[in-house]
Symmetry: C2
Subunit: 213 residues, 2 copies
């Protein structure tokens, strides 16, 4: 499989290509040159050619890229051509925001369940998906072939819950808790640390102020 | 100012150091060696020494780092010693999640207002902060010295709202909308593209499957 030798830097950029190509498709654009794509995405055309060459043969000299084909191929590389069953742990605002974001489903991320510790939420539904109590978690994961768990709970609880998930053979954790989970290597963890993102923003404000003082 | 020459890679790691040092402080730890910090953070001790050397003289050979001092200095570099006034645009689940996350305030991010287009929300409060209508936005920003706007609205609206923010002299946008804003260079943009994060997770699941087939 070609994917193996692709650098993490390219991988980090692929979802952005996928997003732009999806928008082009929606706009009915069938072909696009690396120059036009470069202008839209604000990266150099040579960067685009280099990145997309990793996947071999999508572009033709002087003819541009076939948008549909490139979109499909990048989708395959990103694993979006197959469904991934998902659960959300924590039915607070953030968990609800994720549950209500129907676009994930369009990409093949199928929400199977939502879990919380608050008994008042038991049996309620978000977008037709039932909220369940944590006691069910360990059995629910294997029974429903759940691959991905989004963790939107406080850090104090996150490590304990992650252990239950590992024992129930979860494949990946999408971690919004403000802590590192330190799980066995075969568990894939994608962190979204919002406070760190806000600190980078704050750093960039200060650096700008220093430079323009 | 030392900060200027620090690479973006180091900057990306600083908030994580800040988080770990904050936890050490809470646990009452006064000094820590680069080896102990290395073990906790799962990065090499030499990486830690290199990173922290960027800021000069925080560690002493054979004596370790003064946790409080290092925490304070990194906080200064990240711009956390001064307050940043902030607003949230979009009072949906994600906007509410951010508004309810009091830990931001502890770091100096002061929530001044929340904006939405839904008249039913007008005048309601989240954590004591009033929800206002979008018509007020352009005036509110300069009158309240707002530096940062978190955008938690659909991409169709985000570009239009970003323009109002730019005109009202916002400094930075924390962008959760699934689009690139393409703003003038003096506006700092920190993107949180959740669907791209989920695609990287999906890619890593597939790559793992390929390698262990």
């Amino acid at each position: 499989m070609q994917g193996k030798e692709i650098s993490q830097a390219v991988i980090r950029r692929l979802p952005r290509y996928y997003r732009y190509l999806g928008e082009l498709l929606e706009d009915g654009v069938e072909r696009i040159s690396s120059n036009d794509l470069s202008e839209r995405m604000k990266v150099t055309a040579s960067q685009i050619r280099q990145d997309l060459n990793n996947f071999g043969g999508f572009g033709q000299q002087g003819y541009g890229y076939n948008v549909k084909h490139l979109y499909t191929e990048i989708g395959k590389i990103l694993g979006l051509e197959q469904d991934h069953n998902m659960i959300i742990i924590g039915a607070g605002n953030l968990g609800q925001a994720l549950a209500n974001y129907a676009a994930f489903e369009k990409r093949g991320f199928v929400l199977k369940g939502i879990f919380d510790i608050n008994p008042a939420l038991k049996g309620k539904e978000i977008r037709g998906v039932k909220i369940r109590m944590m006691e069910e978690l360990g059995r629910f994961v294997p029974e429903n072939n759940v691959e991905i768990a989004a963790l939107t709970i406080p850090k104090e609880k996150a490590i304990e819950v992650a252990r239950v998930l590992v024992d129930s053979k979860i494949r990946a954790i999408w971690n919004f808790a403000h802590t590192d989970l330190n799980l066995p290597e075969h568990i894939i963890v994608e962190n979204v640390h919002l406070s760190e993102s806000l600190m980078r923003l704050s750093y960039n404000i200060c650096r700008y102020n220093e430079e323009h003082r």
